[in-house]
Symmetry: C2
Subunit: 345 residues, 2 copies
């Protein structure tokens, strides 16, 4: 089998480290891994796949000579805007975790269990969707195929790991202060997140919606390939370190049954139904962390519409919501469509 | 002014203690306060309103001789089922915080800022709604009056204080163990609530909805006096000690505007608009605790329906969601309708 050169860009951040963890769990046919980061982290040595890797400074001259086939980016929108085209020009297909390219009409936005067919039309860059969108897609796709989606209402319960190391520490240090009776001034969040909920993720836009809410709305339509689906969202940060939860109300185009919904969910790759309320079984962030599957439960028909349901959907936002989804896109191409592993044409 | 004899039944529990706190902040025209509790707590002396009160055992012979005018109950459904009629028979109007009488067609279910007119038809018992319902009512009523309510979708973020002292301790002790690296086995919740979300409040019913969700659905219609309103709910416990938050999606019967919604909210007694996202102002549980008002923000038009909006609503679930609402019902009668202070006819 052909072997590939793989770059991880932004290897020292929260999602970047998770990229390395997820990659190290797999045995992908890789010749060389190149770990890139900003000048600040360059030179640092990271033990990865059983050997030391020196972190390479992210600049074009360090990209040109490496024959990189696949570049996994997790380095923020600005860096992706600047460097994804550089990697693509030098022959790599970039899988980018930032929001920079997601809504670009020439960039596919991909959840491999949902719309792998969109990978085919990439032109050097494939976008990894927003964490809160990814998990919802895995649950919604089988329902879309079976019943058609008319309207979706998201209310999210998002973990602090989605806000990076600084957000993670804001909760961890905040909880320590809370328990020990001290004070802690948050660095990432505008207010304490320990013992609190913040209905505020990413910046506010006109109309009062946050960018996170707008991402969920727009990305849902793009991934599901149907601009006619009505989507609205309220996104909220909760004092949980990892794994996002979502309360989703769904209205269908066609009549549904509970058994039909369950069947659709059970047929969906990457989705696990945890819904046995008589035994107190339902998805929870504490159980989802460390897994690549999306968990769905609390499945109830909603009799306030002609055909609809309520569900509760949980996934590890750093794994399935970011690193694992990106690596799965790479895996999909390696094993199912190696002809798609190329840069800009 | 006439002075009244007031009983607090279940005076030693979490909500019962809050009844005493709320009462002590007011200067109601009261002759005597009688504090009742189970045999277990009887004889205990509680310092209240500047003097010691001996807790009286809850049994009929201790009720007969006291000429109680108003009895505030917070003692669980079973106790209310047994003793509310006893107090009512002996001349008291009972304001009951349990779920026992809420859906009884002969018992008004009252939020004083919303449907005080319903107090008039009581027959010795008035029910205090469920905590998560009360706060939503204060936000929804002005919208109902202005635009008519077609459909409501609740997703809740509920604090552990709603699960009583044991639930409160489950989070507090769980956080200590979490921060210090120890183990804590929850006593009230089926799973850890520290660093977790449980989509499970109260017991599960047929159809998969919890009793908490069914309460929100049924009580909303009863309080707003309109069985035609479509209501659905997903209720979730989050790791917050106090104050419930709610993401509410609302569909109206008539066309709305953002300015009109704001105007309606600002005209509603007991409701405070906190919605200046450019300055990061929105309601949060950390800010709501200790207050009797309901806070509403993140007010956004929802363009996925002809006329609708998304809101975020927060209130102290032990104060406005329980004790304060009950005391406000008593206050309303004392100052506005003393002729309604009587037991069963």
């Amino acid at each position: 089998m052909k072997k590939y050169n793989v770059a991880v860009v932004g290897a020292t951040g929260m999602v970047g480290s998770k990229f390395l963890e997820v990659l190290s769990e797999k045995n992908l046919p890789v010749d060389n891994y190149y770990l890139f980061a900003s000048a600040k982290s360059a030179g640092k040595v990271i033990d990865f796949m059983g050997k030391p890797h020196t972190v390479i400074e992210l600049k074009e001259e360090n990209v040109t000579d490496k024959h990189i086939d696949i570049a996994l980016f997790s380095a923020g929108g600005g860096t992706s805007a600047q460097f994804a085209p550089v990697f693509a020009r030098h022959g790599a297909v970039v899988i980018d975790n930032s929001s920079q390219w997601r809504m670009d009409k020439d960039v596919p936005l991909v959840v491999p269990e949902v719309n792998p067919q969109d990978i085919a039309w990439h032109n050097g860059i494939i976008a990894n969707p927003n964490c809160s969108t990814i998990q919802a897609m895995v649950a919604l796709r089988p329902l879309q195929l079976k019943y058609g989606l008319k309207r979706i209402i998201y209310s999210t319960y998002q973990a602090v790991s989605g806000a990076g190391v600084a957000g993670y520490n804001d909760l961890l240090e905040g909880l320590k202060a809370f328990v020990n009776g001290g004070e802690y001034a948050t660095k990432k969040f505008p207010y304490a997140i320990a013992n609190n909920c913040l209905p505020h993720i990413d910046v506010f836009s006109d109309g009062g919606y946050t960018k996170e809410e707008i991402k969920m709305i727009k990305e849902t339509k793009k991934i599901l390939g149907d601009e006619s689906i009505k989507v609205t969202a309220t996104t909220v940060r909760v004092p949980v370190l990892n794994s996002h939860s979502e309360s989703i109300n769904i209205e269908f185009n066609k009549p549904c049954t509970l058994e039909g919904i369950l069947e659709a969910f059970r047929s969906q790759s990457g989705l696990v139904v945890v819904d046995d309320v008589k035994s107190n079984k339902y998805p929870m962030p504490a159980d989802a962390t460390g897994h690549d599957e999306v968990f769905v439960g609390r499945i109830r028909l909603d009799d306030t519409v002609e055909s609809g349901c309520n569900i509760w959907c949980v996934a590890d936002n750093i794994r399935k919501g970011a690193a694992s989804n990106a690596v799965q896109i790479a895996e999909y191409m390696i094993y199912n469509a190696p002809e798609l592993i190329h840069g800009a044409k």
